[in-house]
């Protein structure tokens, strides 16, 4: 399947606030459904509801993943670790710890891992500690042929940054005694060296990319993704895109999005973790409502094909619709 890779760049620190129900907590990544609603908001600002509904029905997209542009302009894109078990014969506990820490694979390393799937035992016959094949740096795994990038990976990754906030009493002009002082956690993508540029990217499949999505992306980077956008969190300066071929034939799928199975697809789950998705709905009206909370499969889950996933209405009331994204996009393999 032909997809677009959309890369989001910021001239300053990439700082996001994917809320986790509390100000002092963040999610560890921006999930596809959050990205979807940010895109829908941008679309609705530019077009009418017809365009939005067509988009919501047709678009398939991934969550936001980290990428790194090296000094010579080469991009390394990372994918989340598949949830299924890996075979490691290593008995050295320290080395096994190192293996377990890996949570992101370069595309090449990911393809290598996927090619080692043992369908009988439902696991990856793949030893990440084999230095002839893989090169590890903290939470990242590369192929050994990509080793020259290892240096650039030092200091690269997500960190949580904590910002103290003060709520000032308008009467006394000092912090409120109760609740006047609190911490806000943000998710920050950093890089250890000045010559490399960290960015976030996602994959999207949508026929009307140039015509509809491109203008929405122009607006999206300025509007932001995730929480606390009015403090500049989740805002970018520019985006780039290129085409990519995503394998779509096979018996299995490694998910790149938070997905919700259709009723008849629930028997196709092999290895998965769940993430609770909840939050508020603001509908231009005066009051905010809680969305219906719902569990979705996490990125990296392995399912049997066919598996399309579905969007779901999470409106707490009958008088309007709130679409929560749950379609499956991923890497197909056998």
């Amino acid at each position: 399947m032909k997809c677009r890779v959309v890369k989001l760049f910021s001239k300053n620190v990439v700082c996001l606030r994917p809320g986790a129900g509390r100000m002092d907590r963040t999610e560890s990544m921006i999930h596809a459904d959050t990205l979807f609603s940010a895109l829908c908001n941008a679309l609705l600002k530019l077009y009418d509801e017809g365009v939005l509904l067509q988009f919501a029905e047709r678009v398939v997209l991934s969550s936001l993943f980290p990428g790194l542009r090296s000094e010579d302009g080469k991009d390394l894109l990372f994918l989340p670790r598949p949830v299924a078990p890996f075979s490691t014969s290593d008995t050295d506990l320290l080395r096994r710890k190192k293996e377990k820490k890996v949570s992101w694979f370069s595309w090449k390393a990911f393809a290598k891992v996927i090619s080692r799937f043992n369908a009988k035992q439902l696991r990856f016959d793949c030893n990440l500690l084999n230095e002839e094949i893989f090169a590890l740096e903290g939470r990242f795994a590369l192929l050994s042929e990509e080793k020259e990038m290892l240096g650039a990976l030092q200091g690269f990754g997500f960190l949580s940054g904590v910002e103290p906030h003060v709520a000032i009493d308008r009467v006394s002009n000092t912090a409120f005694e109760e609740g006047g002082f609190y911490f806000q956690e943000n998710l920050v993508l950093t890089t250890g060296t000045e010559d490399t540029t960290p960015f976030l990217y996602f994959l999207v499949h949508y026929e009307r990319f140039e015509e509809v999505l491109q203008p929405a992306l122009n607006l999206l980077v300025e509007e932001g993704i995730g929480g606390e956008r009015h403090q500049g969190k989740g805002i970018f300066d520019r985006w780039e895109s290129e085409e990519i071929e995503l394998p779509d034939q096979g018996n299995y799928l490694a998910l790149f999005s938070v997905a919700l199975p259709n009723r008849e697809e629930t028997g196709n789950l092999i290895y998965y973790d769940l993430v609770l998705r909840r939050g508020f709905v603001y509908h231009g009206g005066p009051t905010a409502f809680y969305k219906k909370p719902i569990f979705k499969l996490v990125e990296g889950s392995i399912v049997r094909l066919p598996f399309a996933g579905c969007n779901i209405d999470v409106a707490p009331r009958d008088d309007y619709r709130v679409i929560s994204y749950g379609k499956a996009l991923g890497f197909a393999f056998s």
Binding site: T190, P215, P286
Partner: protein
């Protein structure tokens, strides 16, 4: 829901005219004796969080204009009608309004900061990004200093790059909203940013201001911004004198496009 019309972008440098202290400690509640670091990015450089600028400007406007409706005494305005509520969002569950202002964190402009220190002949790796100052509390009876504590602050001369975006929707009085925001900037220049303002910290000014805007149509076509002036306004007062002209131009661009 009202249609989105477009955005006004305001770029500026914030220069600290006195030491600036946006800290992790509870300044205003005067819990002393603690470590008093200033807020820094994950790579250790001081910055001005968007929320500090946004919060301070709103607070100054709320105090000047008066709070009409508040959830509890001392809260920001929640009326949903006044210009402050329209710009910053009503602080209320009942009168929720769109937040039109979007601030960005202001990061240290190291080049400009170095320039301000050019007479001191320091090398790059010697240029201090922060300084420590001892603060005392004077015992009113004995007249002696007590509880000396180090306070970290960003030295005078530090320059930060800032950006604010104002979103406009159909029905907005564009000129009124821009003027109200500008009034907030003016109040800030006359007040202080961060902690210990009453002790002379946090006097700031805006320099090298530039303005651009984009209409809804611009996003759908070339995504190009329209600039108000090719050359930035080197100081706040010069930009101040051009404000009426800016308001007129932005309002015309947003409403005069005559699309659809």
């Amino acid at each position: 829901m009202n249609r989105f019309l477009g955005k006004l972008f305001i770029y500026f440098e914030i220069e600290a005219l006195t030491g600036l202290r946006i800290g992790g400690a509870r300044d205003s509640a005067e819990i002393g004796g603690l470590d008093n670091p200033v807020i820094k990015t994950v790579d250790g450089k001081p910055y001005i969080p968007a929320s500090s600028l946004k919060g301070k400007i709103r607070c100054l406007l709320d105090r000047k204009d008066g709070v009409r409706v508040a959830r509890r005494e001392g809260d920001p305005c929640g009326c949903g009608q006044c210009e402050v509520c329209r710009l910053f969002g009503a602080h209320s569950d009942k009168n929720k309004t769109l937040t039109r202002l979007c601030f960005r964190d202001a990061f240290l402009n190291f080049e400009k900061y170095r320039e301000s220190l050019k007479d001191s002949k320091l090398l790059d790796d010697e240029i201090p990004l922060t300084e420590e100052k001892m603060e005392n509390i004077i015992d009113r009876l004995k007249g002696t200093a007590q509880h000396p504590r180090p306070m970290e602050r960003v030295p005078a001369g530090a320059v930060f790059d800032g950006e604010v975006v104002v979103n406009f929707y159909e029905g907005d009085d564009v000129k009124k909203l821009i003027r109200k925001f500008w009034e907030g900037l003016r109040l800030l220049v006359d007040d202080y940013l961060g902690g210990s303002g009453t002790r002379g910290y946090g006097k700031v000014t805006f320099r090298n201001l530039a303005f651009s805007w984009k209409t809804r149509k611009d996003y759908q076509t070339k995504n190009q911004a329209h600039w108000f002036s090719d050359i930035p306004f080197s100081n706040f007062e010069d930009a101040d004198h051009k404000l009426d002209e800016l308001c007129e131009k932005v309002s015309q661009a947003l409403y005069g496009a005559g699309e659809h």
